[in-house]
Amino acid sequence: MLLFLLRRIGLMLVTALCLTFVVFALTNMPAKLETLAKTQAGSRMSDAEVTSWLERNGYAEPMLVRYGEWLGVMPGWVRVDADGSVTGRCVALRGTDDAAGERCGLLQGDWGFSTRFRAEVSDVIAARLGATGLLMMWVLIVMVPMALIVGVLAGMREGSRTDRTLSTFAIASTATPEYVSGVLFIALLASSTVGISPILAEWGWIDGRVLFQGNARSAIEDITLSNFTLPVLTIALYGMGYVARITRASMTEVMTQQYIRTARLKGVAFSKIVLRHALRNALIAPFTVIMLQIPWLLNGVVISEVLFSYPGFGWTLYEAAVNNDIELLLAASVVAVVVVLVTQLISDIGYVYLNPRIRIS
């Protein structure tokens, strides 16, 4: 078990290293650095001004050296101007001239500085992950029970009318990407001119102009049913269909097992068979899928957070990519690697507990 954990953590480190290097290389291409200089110091700068800006801000060194600085294995760049003022990576991060020449990278716990948000990367990531955590929590609260109920109901009598109806629903929901369902929801539920809101408003059933808000910015301060329903529903529906399909497949398989048939022949009530005998075995497969669904949801989070302007992790990733915010993008990749591998780890370990036939050696 310990060896297994160590191997997994080792794998995580290697993956993170490779991924961050790729991201670093891509964001440090000369054209990208020019974008950065122009977004930082004026979009209408001349080439000479760009070169001098890059030089003054430590972007002129070789790429590998700067990657080393970011990791914390190389000392940060230092620059002493003619008037004696000292600038440098560590000077800016630590806020003191004494730090010049020290190492200040990931290994020392310095995540760097976000050029887009003008703040420490660690602060940005922490705040945004918190926001996404809330969103994900509500997504899981909506998605998991819904998916399991739909899957179990559909799978307990394969081929029945209930099965066909629920399966159609599940397939439709998982076949509709967030950028389609999100827009549909906004048009149907969050517009005062089309959809059902004008009708409801006319009948006097809703106080405001719209049933739900098509914009979740205010959820940062205060989550309400009105501003959070649509983003949660958009993400949850997409994952729901998939998990429901897996649950259904697993349920139908269990329902054909010998011991279930025996129980039925003994005259045990159908509801009891499903709840007591079939359910636990049927939940093994969905459990893995739900865990693997979490990193997959991070994908959906990018689209729906941007669509609903909810400043969470996905939105931050988008902003960082669009503005070539190098250190923020790197930190986001590290977070993504950790999320993927940790959820995998949990699913592997959870599997052992759910299925006594499996051991981790």
Binding site: S192, T193, G214
Partner: protein
């Protein structure tokens, strides 16, 4: 406001009086007259007085105090004001950083931190009178030396991206302020000695990077240490998310009673997708948007946010870069130009929300605009000319940014060229990459905001080596004529030079400039004073809610 200017009303300026006669004779419209007269130092009521009119009373209703205004606007990372490249950066700070003068919606200049100014008859000496009784919000008095300090900052061309330096040329020498260019005469008077006549100098001081900062200001964050003269203070500022500004209770503002009506202004950055602005408006999360374009204007109208319009000299320049073949060939440029009917571009690309332009980047609302014979599109002649130049089968590529109205405008340009039989492809780049090389694309479209005077954009964009010269246009005759025009305070005399300048622009086929844009903003009905401004100014100090 009237009492503040009473002292200056006696002042008469010979050129301004001439303008007034022109206006009376119908040679000038009122907006042109106001721009020109106030640029020469005639106060607004006095300028109206020259016309025999009373200055319009701006407020039919008495403004109400209090309330919170929420506005959709991009919030970008702050930097040194003189290097601002987006009006939004300036707008967020307008509550505490004020300007020497303001450019008004009607085309006039309003003195702010200056009480008045006078120009010598040849526009080489300006006398600035600093408004008495103004204090910084840290208690320091605002004096002539603060004005001199700011002008010196603007003149420092060694600062990367300092666009004010390109406007202060007549006060500069060797990338810095010229010795003796700015004299502090007494606490409230500054004299500017120009090396060459510059009629745009005062108007330039109303431009958004000309925010007046405290002498202690260094670095690049006017939000972190918000010392200013205005009535508000920043509460928070998060790029990409939003900013909050509140009235400063510990500061006596010089213009108490004539603004600062709102308690709190919240700017909300909702990204670049107008659909989310609409969603936010539907949800009642915003009271007004920053700027609406295309169909979005109508949608906002429909959900109860009526539009306000500003006619501007803002435009789109579908320009050739003469450093790139085949656009170094004048015949190719002229042929491509000839294939395009600008009126059709305006209709298809911008829903007719503007007026047709004439490929020379001087707008009829500019005081020195000279009318030239109309240009005519002729597809057959265009193709014939292209064949003559040996480029009949050359594949041209027109690049634009992904913003809908700009992409659609370029589509309309390219479609007409295709109709003429020219082989042209279109490329659309996302905003983040487009601006990397905007001055170097062989053939692309650039959005240009307006400048109050016609010579201003020409100085920036078409002079040899100009700061934002994206056409690589370099023409000796043009440059020297422009120098000449820059020194002629008399607009009629300047117009004669301008006619020649405009003709050179057309003859050289510098760009396809299809139309002048009107710009729009939608605001809820209870928001007042927030009409769209031709230069995108969001002077929230003057906004109020009922």
């Amino acid at each position: 406001m009237k009492d503040l200017h009473a002292k200056r009303e006696a002042v008469r300026h010979p050129v301004a009086e001439m303008y007034a006669r022109e206006c009376a004779a119908g040679k000038l419209d009122r907006r042109e007259f106001l721009t020109r007269a106030t640029a020469l130092g005639v106060a607004v009521p006095a300028a109206y007085g020259l016309l025999g009119l009373a200055a319009p009373e701006a407020h039919a209703q008495e403004p109400q105090m209090g309330g919170t205004l929420r506005m959709q606007m991009a919030i970008k990372a702050q930097r040194d004001p003189r290097t601002w490249d987006w009006s939004e950066l300036a707008n967020a700070c307008r509550g505490w950083l004020e300007y020497l003068v303001d450019y008004q919606r009607d085309g006039s200049l309003q003195p702010v931190l200056l009480e008045s100014w006078e120009a010598s008859d040849d526009a080489t000496t300006y006398t600035l009178h600093v408004r008495p009784g103004v204090t910084w919000n840290n208690g320091d008095p605002f004096t002539a030396s603060d004005v001199a300090h700011n002008i010196e900052r603007w003149c420092d061309a060694s600062v990367e991206g300092n666009s004010m330096a390109s406007r202060m040329g007549s006060l500069m020498e060797n990338d810095a302020m010229r010795e003796g260019a700015v004299e502090v005469v007494d606490d409230l008077t500054v004299r500017l000695n120009l090396s060459s006549p510059d009629i745009a100098l005062i108007v330039s001081m109303a431009d958004y990077p000309a925010a007046v900062v405290h002498p202690s200001f260094t670095g690049d964050d006017p939000v972190a240490n918000p010392i200013g003269t205005g009535p508000y203070l920043p509460v928070s500022y998060d790029p990409g998310i939003g900013a909050v500004v509140e009235r400063n209770p510990d500061h006596t503002w010089w213009n108490e009673g004539n603004g600062a009506y709102l308690d709190r202004i919240e700017f909300i950055d909702l990204g670049t997708d107008p659909a989310s602005w609409i969603a936010a408006a539907e949800a009642g999360e915003i009271d007004l948007n920053y700027q609406a374009q295309g169909d979005i204007i109508d949608i906002f109208d429909a959900i109860g946010y009526p539009r306000s319009e500003a006619v501007t000299a803002a435009t789109i320049a579908v320009r050739f870069n003469q450093d790139n073949a085949p656009y170094d060939n004048k015949d190719v440029r002229l042929a491509l130009q000839k294939a395009v009917n600008n009126a059709i571009v305006l209709e298809l690309g911008y829903n007719d929300l503007g007026i047709v332009a004439e490929n020379h980047h001087v707008c009829p609302i500019h005081p020195e605009y000279a009318e030239l014979p109309p240009i005519e599109a002729d597809a057959a002649a265009a193709m014939a000319r292209l064949e003559e130049a040996g480029h009949a089968t050359t594949e041209f590529e027109l690049i634009s940014i992904d913003e809908p109205w700009q992409a659609e405008t370029c589509d309309a340009v390219a479609a007409q060229m295709r109709d003429a039989g020219i082989n042209i492809t279109r490329t659309i780049l996302p905003g983040a990459t487009f601006w990397n090389d905007w001055t170097k694309y062989p053939f692309s479209a650039t959005e240009w905001n307006m400048r109050p005077l016609g010579v201003q954009v020409l100085n920036l964009a078409y002079r040899t080596g100009g700061a934002w010269n994206e056409t690589a246009f370099s023409n000796e005759e043009f440059d020297s004529l422009l120098d000449e025009a820059n020194g002629i305070a008399d607009a009629d005399a300047r117009r004669e030079v301008m006619a020649r300048i405009e003709t050179i622009m057309q003859e050289e086929g510098v760009l396809i400039q299809p139309y002048w844009r009107s710009i729009f903003r939608n605001a809820a009905e209870n928001v007042h004073g927030a009409e769209m401004h031709p230069t995108f100014v969001v002077d929230y100090v003057k906004y109020w809610k009922s």
